[in-house]
């Protein structure tokens, strides 16, 4: 079977979080901004959280998601 897929919804989600790295979004906001069902979005958000690209947190009783920068960032000398 053909399993080739370009995960367009994932791409759209990443672009949205990348464009607004400081903002937090609820599932409803994301559903409205991306014009997608919440049911379609939930597995995508799960995957992005698993990859560490976004994180989930609670604020005023609401579940929100925001962009998370990579943890690893190291510098090293470059010899001439």
């Amino acid at each position: 079977m053909n399993t080739r897929r370009i995960p367009s919804l994932k791409m759209e989600c990443i672009m949205l979080f990348q464009s607004n790295p400081q903002s937090a979004h609820s599932l409803e906001d994301l559903s409205e901004n991306l014009d997608r069902n919440e049911e379609d979005l939930e597995p995508v958000l799960e995957l992005l959280m698993k990859q560490g690209i976004i994180e989930q947190f609670q604020k005023a009783g609401k579940t929100l998601y925001r962009y998370q920068e990579p943890e690893t960032a190291s510098e090293f000398e470059m010899d001439p």
Binding site: M1, T3, P7, Q51, I53, T72, S74, E75, M78, P80
Partner: protein, 694 residues
């Protein structure tokens, strides 16, 4: 026959809707027999502009077309021709078009979007297969004197389902089974395992329970067809054990047809149909089954092609969005994050990482998303070795992505982030159990992504460097206003420092810090630190000043060597006496040797060659030819050197070549380095020596 032509036109309309192509039938001489069906705008325009004459020309000159072919009728525009076999030989030709090249220019594709399907290198054979299949249907229609089997089909309904992007095969199956004819059920089984097929679509009275049933290749009637790929027809099989897959139904079929259909991804599906009540099929039912088989295969192909087109469109949209996002952020770090997040999601591998040169600090920087199994520093070392400290594209890659095996045994796609031959860094994306087909698609997407990344990072870096360069230049010019002699001295020192650091292969950022420290030696190091907080110029100056005051500095790192070079250049430019430089505490022998050989060579060169005299040579072509023979220079460096030898200054060269004066300066430094000279005079003299020697 008229009804057969009408029927043909309806069939063509249906296919035209499915594929976005225009279809028509001609005789062997190219005279059009059916109406031209389809909404391919570009094809319509081209037909008005004489495409038919072109086709007649093809038929006249290419003789018989014995198999489906694709002709390029205009640059990047193609039409398909397939022979229609009627009886013994080719009686007609079916034409379908037009397809547009994948790399035809963007405006053209946008203009024709939705009208002209795109011909990709990897879907060429599928288009040809499709044209061949439609020609087969056409041949069958032309053979039919009794057109009942097909005329029973409501082609308008079928076309509508196609236009609405529904599964055309479902509509087709419904019509065939609902007509009250001999075919009471129709189904498709698709390969779901190495030897296993599963019934995925089924339509017909009381046959729904078959959905999901599996059979093994070679087992029963269906398994036999999957194995041999030969159409089958069996009568009176109610008691035959080979029909046991139907055992779950209230009754077993008496009559069974089977055939195979190739799907878009190359897999073979088994098409089957039959009757529970009739034990034998009439001739027209056999023809109907044959037609249905062809139409089903076409439907499966179009579903695949449509899916691929939608994937291509989705990729293009993503890339446009990525470009937009990259262009809107001036921050290189954000660009790196975009590259990391997009690539790890595309490949769905364990990690993505970017190893990049930080031009500000002169250090390498590693940013990772996901988790790299094992010691990442070991992997970084191998990347640095392959790219010679991120200064060169890995050998034999041409800047394109490639697959490597990592020190931890995993595999990754490495994509150089470059601008021309100038390397910015590497994007590496771990891969995990990816099929070859997926891998090729990932590589293609990552190639585009890394090109966008390389260009964006270069532009962002240039913006920052450019601002610093301008600030540095302005401060240097201010010295000229205050103290002309100090300006000349600092300029000489900076020029010496530029060549020494290039010969010692200092990283760009470190070299820039030494040159800047020399240019701005008139200012205090505190002031320089305030002006250029992210550049090492102030530290270089402080170390250099300590050496100038004969404080012994233990050599610990590159900043100390940089400070030593600063001290050598400043000491010499102040007094014009080599001893003053030689008498400084010796921090690094290589730096001192380079400095001494440079200063001595410069003296000799200045005595031996006269720039004014050289520039009088009027045969510019000879100079250009001599430079062209210096094949260790890049084409751009050759252009710059030719203009230099013609007596042009940096600004003139920049204007002639449409590049910045800063870039010209960079090229000249590289030329000096490659020719092993320290100044323009020596470079020009080398050209002349080359001219006379060869």
């Amino acid at each position: 026959m008229a009804s057969a032509i009408e029927l043909l036109e309806k069939v063509q309309q249906t296919f035209a809707s499915q594929y976005g192509l225009t279809f028509f039938l001609t005789d062997r001489e190219g005279e059009v027999l059916t109406s031209v069906e389809g909404g391919n705008g570009l094809c319509g325009t081209m037909l008005e502009e004489g495409l038919l004459n072109e086709m007649k020309h093809i038929l006249k000159n290419d003789g018989r077309i014995s198999r489906p072919l694709i002709y390029e009728v205009a640059s990047g525009v193609h039409i398909m021709a397939a022979p229609v076999i009627n009886g013994e030989g080719t009686s007609h030709y079916l034409w379908a078009g037009v397809l547009v090249d994948q790399d035809r220019d963007v405006d053209m594709q946008t203009e024709m979007q939705g009208a002209a399907p795109i011909l990709y290198e990897n879907n060429r054979s599928e288009w040809l297969q499709l044209a061949g299949r439609i020609a087969e249907v056409t041949g069958l229609c032309l053979q039919q004197t009794d057109v009942t089997p097909l005329s029973g089909l409501h082609l308008d309904r079928l076309r509508k389902s196609v236009q609405q992007h529904e599964a055309a095969s479902a509509e087709l199956f419904s019509q065939v089974t609902e007509d009250g004819g001999e075919i009471e059920f129709l189904g498709i089984a698709e390969q779901t395992g190495e030897d296993t097929y599963t019934v995925t679509r089924i339509i017909g009275r009381e046959a729904g329970a078959l959905r999901g049933k599996q059979f093994i290749v070679g087992e029963g009637f269906l398994g036999r067809t999957a194995l041999t790929e030969v159409p089958g027809y069996w009568e009176d099989i109610g008691q035959d054990r080979r029909s046991r897959i139907f055992a779950s139904l209230p009754e077993r079929p008496q009559l069974l047809f089977t055939d195979t259909a190739q799907a878009h991804d190359g897999s073979v599906a088994v098409l089957f149909g039959g009757s529970f009540s009739k034990k034998r099929a009439s001739a027209s039912t056999k023809t109907l089954m044959q037609m249905t088989s062809i139409l089903t295969e076409s439907s499966l192909l179009v579903e695949g092609l449509r899916e691929e087109n939608s994937q291509q469109l989705s990729r293009l949209t993503s890339l446009v969005e990525i470009c937009r996002l990259m262009a809107s952020t001036p921050d290189p770090r954000r660009m790196i994050l975009i590259l990391l997040d997009i690539s790890i999601n595309l490949v769905e591998g364990p990690f993505s990482l970017v190893l990049i040169k930080d031009n500000k600090s002169g250090k390498g920087k590693l940013v990772t998303r996901g988790s790299y199994e094992g010691e990442v520093s070991q992997y970084v070392r191998t990347m640095m070795e392959r790219t010679r400290q991120l200064s060169r594209l890995p050998e034999d890659t041409d800047g394109e992505p490639y697959v490597v095996t990592l020190p931890n045994g995993q595999q990754a796609i490495e994509c150089p982030l470059a601008y021309g031959n100038e390397m910015q860094g590497i994007l590496s994306v771990g891969i995990d159990g990816t099929s070859e087909l997926d891998l090729q698609e990932h590589i293609a997407f990552l190639q585009t992504l890394s090109i966008i990344g390389g260009v964006s990072l270069q532009l962002a870096g240039h913006r920052e460097t450019h601002v610093e360069e301008e600030k540095s230049e302005a401060l240097h010019l201010a010295v000229q206003e205050m103290d002309e002699a100090a300006y000349v001295r600092s300029k000489e020192a900076a020029e010496l420092a530029a060549v020494i650091t290039a010969r010692l292969e200092f990283p760009e950022a470190s070299a820039r810090a030494v040159v800047r420290a020399c240019q701005l030696s008139h200012y205090s190091s505190d002031f320089i630190r305030r002006m250029f907080p992210e550049n090492d110029a102030a530290s270089v100056m402080e170390t250099g000043n300590a050496i100038l005051q004969h404080h012994d500095i233990p050599r610990t790192d590159r900043t100390d060597i940089a400070g030593y070079i600063y001290a050598l250049c400043i000491a010499y430019s102040k007094s014009d006496r080599l001893e003053d430089a030689e008498n400084l505490p010796r921090i690094d022998e290589a730096a001192l040797d380079t400095f001494l050989s440079l200063v001595r060579t410069t003296h000799v060169s200045e005595v031996e060659f006269d720039l004014g005299g050289s520039s009088k040579m009027d045969d510019i072509q000879e100079i250009a030819d001599a430079v062209k023979r210096m094949d260790h220079l890049s084409p751009r460096e050759q252009e710059v050197l030719t203009l230099l030898a013609e007596g042009k200054n940096n600004q003139d060269i920049a204007e002639i070549l449409y590049i910045s004066a800063h870039t010209v300066k960079n090229h000249i430094t590289k030329i000096f380095h490659k020719l092993d000279v320290s100044d323009r005079v020596s470079a020009i003299s080398k050209v002349y020596r080359y001219l006379h020697k060869h």
